[in-house]
Symmetry: C3
Subunit: 462 residues, 3 copies
Amino acid sequence: MAFTPMAFSSTDTTLPATIGDVKTVSDDMDIFWLMFGAILVFFMQTGFAMLEVGSVSIKNTKNILIKNIGDASLGAICWWLLGYGVAFGDTSGKFIGTNNFDLKGALFEADDGTLTNGYSYASWLFQWAFAATAATIVSGAVAERVSFNAYIIYSVILTSFIYPVVVHWGWAGGWASAWRETDLLFGCGVIDFAGSGVVHMTGGLAALCAAIVVGPRTGRFNEDGTANTLPQQSAVLQSLGTLILWFGWYGFNGVSTLYIVGFAGVAAKTMVTTTISAAFGAVTTVLLGKFNLGHWDGGAANNGLLAGLVGVTAGCSTCEPEGAMVIGIISGFVYTYSSKMLVMLKIDDVVDAIPVHCFCGAWGVFAASLFATKDNYGMAYYDRADKCAGAFYGGAGNAVGANFVFILAVTAWVVATCTALFMGIKMTVGMRVDKEMEQIGMDDSKHGGQTYPEMMKGTTAA
Amino acid sequence: MAFTPMAFSSTDTTLPATIGDVKTVSDDMDIFWLMFGAILVFFMQTGFAMLEVGSVSIKNTKNILIKNIGDASLGAICWWLLGYGVAFGDTSGKFIGTNNFDLKGALFEADDGTLTNGYSYASWLFQWAFAATAATIVSGAVAERVSFNAYIIYSVILTSFIYPVVVHWGWAGGWASAWRETDLLFGCGVIDFAGSGVVHMTGGLAALCAAIVVGPRTGRFNEDGTANTLPQQSAVLQSLGTLILWFGWYGFNGVSTLYIVGFAGVAAKTMVTTTISAAFGAVTTVLLGKFNLGHWDGGAANNGLLAGLVGVTAGCSTCEPEGAMVIGIISGFVYTYSSKMLVMLKIDDVVDAIPVHCFCGAWGVFAASLFATKDNYGMAYYDRADKCAGAFYGGAGNAVGANFVFILAVTAWVVATCTALFMGIKMTVGMRVDKEMEQIGMDDSKHGGQTYPEMMKGTTAA
Amino acid sequence: MTTSTIPSLTSSDPDYLLQSATLGDVASLAGDMDIFWLLFGAILVFFMQTGFAMLEVGSVSIKNTKNILIKNIGDASLGAICWWLFGYGVALGDTKGRFIGSNAFALKGSHFEADDGTLTNGYSYAMWLFQWAFAATAATIVSGAVAERVSFNAYIIYSVILTSFIYPVVVHWGWGGGWASAWVDEDLLFDCGVIDFAGSGVVHMTGGLAALAAAIVVGPRTGRFNEDGTANTLPQQSAVLQTLGTLILWFGWYGFNGVSTLAINGLAGVAAKTMVTTTISAAFGAVTTVLLGKLNLGYWDAGAANNGLLAGLVGVTAGCSTCEPEGAMVIGIISGFVYTYSSKMLVMLKIDDVVDAIPVHCFCGAWGVFAASLFATKDNYSAAYYGDRVDKCAGAFYGGDGNAVAANVVFILAVIAWVSATCMALFLGINAVVGMRVDKEMEQIGMDDSKHGGQTYPEMVKGATVA
C-alpha cells in the first residue's frame, strides 16, 4: 500500500521526458479503458438474467437463473480453452483462428517472450463478455421448455466454435474484416463496429433455429392460429434488466474503439449516437404499441429500447445523431412487425429475443453501410472514407456491398451450423423436457423446489 | 482490431516528448473521465425506477416503469433538440443559451471545423444524464394518480426548457454562474458544485407544484386531518434503488470536476465528503425515526441516505469531512421535519421526493456557502477564495449572498413556470386519471394488465 | 467547468505545445490517472454492498425483509463513520510495534496533506474511499450469517467494533506497516511477507471468522435443526434476489481484485491478468459446485451456482495477481469442494448460517491464502510485488523456496487466533449485557412487524399488516 507508480525510473521530475515515457502512460490508459468496458459489458449478464427471469413464469425461475450463471461461467471456460483462439488467433484461410488458445501463445507475451502482454489479457476479458452475451440471447428465446442437457451442449458449441468463427470473419483476420490493410472485401470490409451482426444477429439466428426446433410452449398457440399470453412473473425485473443492459451497452458500443488514446472523441460520439437511437427506438415502439394494442405497453418500451440499441451497434461510431435517430425509429418498426410475424408463424420466443437481436441486428448492419459519414469513418476506421463511407453520405457503395454480403454469410453460417446442432441434440439427448415437467415447471422437478414458497399457495418450501 | 493508437506520429520512443504529446493523452483522459461519470449518473435512472416502483402499489407497477423509461428516452430526445443548447449555448442576456442545439454548432466541432470535438460530446452525455435525473424526481411524487398525457407534456417542457434555463444560470454563461472570470454575482457566483440547487431543488420544486395541483391520492388523508399509509409493494426494490442511487452519486458529485487531469485530488476528496454526508444523513434519520415512530425504519434509512447525498451535492468539493458530517446530520433533520410538514399540509408525495430533493437541496446550496474552506475553494474553483470561501471558514460573506439569491431565484423561476405548466395541463388535458381508474390501478386500464398475475388473486393474466 | 487547459501545463507561449515536456509533466498526468483508477475501483467495490443486500434479503424469510435491509444500509453508513473516525488510522496509520496503526484518524494528519502541508493529497483520499469499501464488505459478511434472530442492538455494537478495531488491525498486519505485510522493505515475515493480494485472508477470512463466532454464540434459528440431528430448510423469499446479488458481487469483484494493484501506471498488465484469473476461478468454482450439488442433491441447484461462484471468487482473491490461468482453474475447482463440504460440516455441527457466509468467506478464504503461496509464479510475483525477492517468495509449485508457504500459513493461524479471540469476547460480552438474540415470539412473527413498522409485501402476503 505504500508503493509508488513504477512508470518512471528517475524521480528528478525536471528531466526531459521522452515519447517512451508518454507512451507508457498512454498504453496503461488504453488497458484501463478496455477493462472498464469489459466490466460494463459483463454486467449485461446481470441485465439479461433479470430480463429473462422477469419474463418467464414463476415455476421456471431457478431454471433460468442457473442458465444465466452458466452462460457466464461455462462461457468463460469455453472462451479460455477454445473461443478466443478461434476468434483472434492467426488466421487459417481467413476462415478461422488457429492458435493462442488457452491464454497461451505469442499474443499473450510481451516482446521479450516472458512477461505478460497486459493489453491482450484485457482484450480477452472484453471479448469474453461479448461471447457470453451472444450465448445468453438463446436461452431467453427457448426458456420454459428446453432441456438442461440441451442447453449445456449448445452453450458450449456456440461459445467455442460457432460464434468465434463469426468474430474471426468480422473483426479479426477473417475475409470480411475491415481491420486490415489489404485484400479487403469490396475494398472496405464490413462496417460492424460493435457487433449488430457479429454478436446480435449471430445470437438471434441461433435463437431462431433453437425456437423452431424446440417448438412452442404448450398452450402458447391455439388451434385457430391465435396466440395466448402466458404468465410473466414480473414486469419490474424485466425493466430492471433492460435498464442494466442499457447501462452496459455504453461499454459494448463506446469501448469498442478498443483504445482511448486517440479515440476518445470517437468513443464519446459513439455513446451519444447510442443514446439517441435507444431513445427513438423506445418512443417509436411505444407509439406503435399504443396504435396496435390500444394501451401504453411497458414491454414495448423495454424491447423498443433494446431494438434501438441493437440497431445502432454496427454503425454507432460512424453515423451522425440524425442517422442514429433514423436507425432507432426503423428499429422500432422492425422489432414490432418481426415480432408479429413470428407469432403468425407460430414461432414462440419468450422474451422476443429474435425480433430484437436477429432482425434489428440485420437491420443494424445494413444501416451502418448507409449512414456512415466520411468524417466519422475516417476517425473510427481508416483513410478509405471516399470508397467506404455510407451510401447516403457520398460513399461509393462498396460498404453496402460488403455489409450485405456479410449479412448473407452470417445467416448462412449460423443457420446451417445451428440447425445441424439443434437437430443433432434433438435426435440424441432431446431438446425438450417432457410434458409433465413443462406443466408443473422446472423448478420443482429439476432445481429443488419452487421459488417464493411464502407467497405461492400449494408450493413446497424451497 | 488491429489498429495502433494515433497519439504519436513517431514510433521511436527515445525521441524527446513535447507538451503537445502529453496534452493529447491528457485530453483523452479527461474525456474518459466524463464518459465514466455520465454512465454512472445514467445508472441512477435504474435507481429511481426501482425506488419508485418499490414505493407504489402493485396496481400501478407498469405505469411507473414506463414513465421511468420515458424520462430517459424522451429526455434524450428533448436534450438533443433543445435542452443542451438552452443550457450551454452562447448566452442571451445571461438568461438563456441560444445555439448549439441538435448537437450542431461550434461547440461540437474541433478547431478545424470538420472533426468532432469529443469533449463536447462527452459533456452532452454527462449533462443529459443530469437532465433525466431532474425530470424523474417529479414522477415519483405524483405517482399513482397523474395521467399519462400530463406526464408526457410536463416531461418534455421540463427537460427542454425549465431545467436547462436553471443550468444556464448556475453552471454556464448565466448571471449566477461561478465559471466565469468577470461580472460575477456578488463577485463570486453561486457555489453549487454538482447541483443541490440546479438539479435537485429544481426537480423537487417541480414535484411540489405538481403534487399540489394534482392533489393527494384517494384515501391518503382522512377528514380529521390524519394520514393513512397506502400500500407499498416492496421495501426491497426501494432499497435496491437507493443503493444504486448512492453508487451513481459518485459520478454525479465526483465527476462534476469535469476534468480529471489537475482535478483528481478534488474528485477524490469530493467522493469522501459525499460518503460521509450520506452516512450521517442515514444514521440521523434512522435515529429520528426511532424517536418519532418507535421503530427502526428501513424507509428512514433509505431517505436519510438520499437526504445526506442531496445536501452535500452543492458543497461536496469545497467542504471538509467535518463539514460534510454537519451537512449530513442537518439534512436528516430537514428531511424528517419537512416530510412531516407536507403531511400536515395534506400534500401527498408518494416517495418523499419533495423533502429529499427540494428541501434538502435548498439546505445544500445554503450549506455550501457556509462550509467552503479557502484551500478547497481554491482547488475546485478559482483564486477568489478570500472573498468567496464559506462564512464559517473566513469568507467575506459574498458566497452566502450569492447562494441565497440563487435559491430565491430558482424558487421563483421554477414555481412560476411549473405552476403555469401544471395549471395549464389541468385545464386542458387534465392532470389526473379518473376515480375508477385510480381505484383499480393504471396497469389494468392503461398498460395491458396487472403485474404478478401468478401471485395476485383475481387479476387478469398480463 | 474551467477552460480546457491542463492546469499543470499552463503557459502563455503560443507554441507551448511544441515545447519539450519534462518527466514532471508526465508524472503529474500519471498521478491523476492512478487516482482515477483507485476511485473507479472504490465505486465498484462499494457496489458490492448492493450485491450483499440483495443476496441476503433474497435468502431470508419475508418476515425479516426490512430488518436485513436496514442492516445492510447500516453496514455502509455506520461503516463510513467508524472508518472515518478510527478504522483507517488503525489500518494504515504509522505502525506502533508492527501491531496497529496510530495516526491518520478522522482524515487528519500528514497522510492527507500534500508536500506543502496545506493542499489535499488526493491519492490518500482515494485510498481512504477504496479501503472503506473493503471494510464495509468485511462487516456485511457477518449480518448474513446471523440473520433472522440476532438483535438490532447487538448488530450495531459488533458492526462498530468490527469496523473500528478488529478488522483494521488485520489490515495493518497484512497490508499496512504490520508484521506480516509484504509491502515493507525490510524485516519481512520469512523474508517475504504474506501473499494476500486483495484479501482472501484480510477481508474474507476475517469476516467469515467473525460470522462463525457470531453464529455459534447466537445459536441456530428456531426450527432449523431437529432433535434427531437433521436440518430443515427454512423459507427463502426469492432466488431471484439472491442471484441478482451474486451477479452484482461478481461485477464488483473486478474492482476488488483488479484495482488492488492500487496504481494503474506500470501495473495495467497486472490488473488485466488479475481480472482474467478472477474470471476463470469464478467460472470453475460455479461449475464444480453445481456438479457436486447434482451429485449430492440429485438436482441442478441454483443456490450452488451462486455460492460456487462466490467460493471461486473468494478463493482466488489472495493469489489473483500471481497465479496463472491454470492455477486459477485449480483454485476455483478446489474452492467448490471446500465450499460444498464445509457447508455440510456446519450443518452437522448444528451451526446455522443463513446465507452460507462461513463456508464461502471463512473456509474458502483460508484456502485462498494457502493457495496463493502455492501457485505464485516468479514472473507474476515479480510484476505484482517485488522483483528482488522472487526466487525466495514465489509459490511452492513454481520453484519458490517455501518461504511464501510458511508466511501464509503463519498469517492464516494468526488471523484465526486474533479474530476468534476478539470476536468470541465481543459476542459473549454482548450476549451477557444487551443479549445477542431477539425473544422467541419476535423470532416467530418476524422482525419487520415488531421492530420495523410492519410487513413487507402487504398486498401479496396473507395476514400482513399494511406497512
